[in-house]
Amino acid sequence: MYLDGRIPMIELSGVEKRFATPSGEVAALRGVDLRIGSGEIFGIIGKSGAGKSTLVRCINLLERPSAGRVNVAGRELTTLGSGALLEARREIGMVFQHFNLLASRTAYRNVALPLELAGWRPRRIAERVLEVLEFVDLLEQRDRYPAQLSGGQKQRVGIARALAARPSVLLCDEATSALDPQTTASILALLKRINQAIGLTILVITHEMGVVASLCDRVAVIEDGLVVEQGPVAELFAQPRSATTRDFVTALEGMGSVTRTLRVAR
């Protein structure tokens, strides 16, 4: 498997997830194997209902896989007890499509939340929160409540919050899907900057090929709970093998933006 000589940071083997529903069992994931290298930006693309969110939620065990193993930063999460699992989750930052910020807390206190949960001392919390807020360029907005921030600013708070506890992995589930194209570009640039500055491993879930094209090193295409194709982004673009991949590539070329996006971001 192509890892560019990097040690794996996330390793999924044979991950399955079945949901029991009133109308029978739904197989959301049907045996997913993935290895994501340390320091990589890895994309997972797929159509609606393909299982992308289920997959990302299986990585921090918000959803417990029905079968298979999940290994993050050398720790086998699927074997951990509940206490150790809570501990391990602090190593995994997560960014959400709808930001999921607490309306009752200012930007500053939203970023402080994971550190409070982890039992940091107030002085260390203050130092760290200001540091990450500065990194995402939100120092001036620190005392505003989410309702007083723009979508892009909210997502930057969300990213700062995910980074606060110094995770070794960042999971982004449709982090830009609620944003306009310009704001999307600035958030993607921020993710790129984070990756370059601290070498953080980033997993990006999306249904937009433009996001993959401008941000990711490698990408996996998921369809109906299975990885149908994966590889370096440029290779996938040049020679899409599956029909789904071809659809995504064509859709992007149709918008005439593939070369431009690739050129701008790289």
Binding site: L86, R89, F96, N100, A103, S104, R105, P114
Partner: protein, 217 residues
Amino acid sequence: MSHELFALLAESLQQTLIMVSVALAIATALGVPLGVILNAAAPGQLLPNAPVYRVLGAIVNATRSTPFIILMVALIPLTRIIVGTSIGTPAAVVPLTIAATPFIARIVEAALRDVDRGLVEAAQAMGATPWQIVVKVLLPESLPATVAGLTLAAVAMIGYSAMAGAVGGGGLGDLAIRYGYERFRADVMAATVAILIALVQLVQSGGDALARRLKHT
């Protein structure tokens, strides 16, 4: 207005305020944890527990569906044990508290349930324990709704307190019955009603303003 009437109204208002605020304080202290337990134990919530949810829910519903006037009489033995007497303002606090507690518990349960699931998920992704989720996410995020609900409870309790007054609990209701009704003092009746209306308005607008401020929009 005669000096005598003024003194009567002032004393009764004070009794009503004491009755309602003491009962509201105790009922909140009991109702919030009860609401948290109901919320957490409900199906699909943080710590689903069907027996706990069903038993607590049944007790809460039973209390809520008993008319206050009957609850008051039925609780006389309990009131005697707690307060030592079943008449007077302190005695009226007992049935008021017991009527308000399940009401507040349901308000809190609903307020917590309405907190965006995404926030709970975000906290879980940060490694929060269920207790941390309650304290750091659910309670603060539901505060505006809880305050609005407590305002509702306070207004209802002002009404109940007038009923409690009628059976010897003192307060404005007692005054209205003893003077306005039994002694045909229309002025006392009118003044009492006016004060009750003003009190409810004050509580409602104060609660609304606080809830709005807590929303941080």
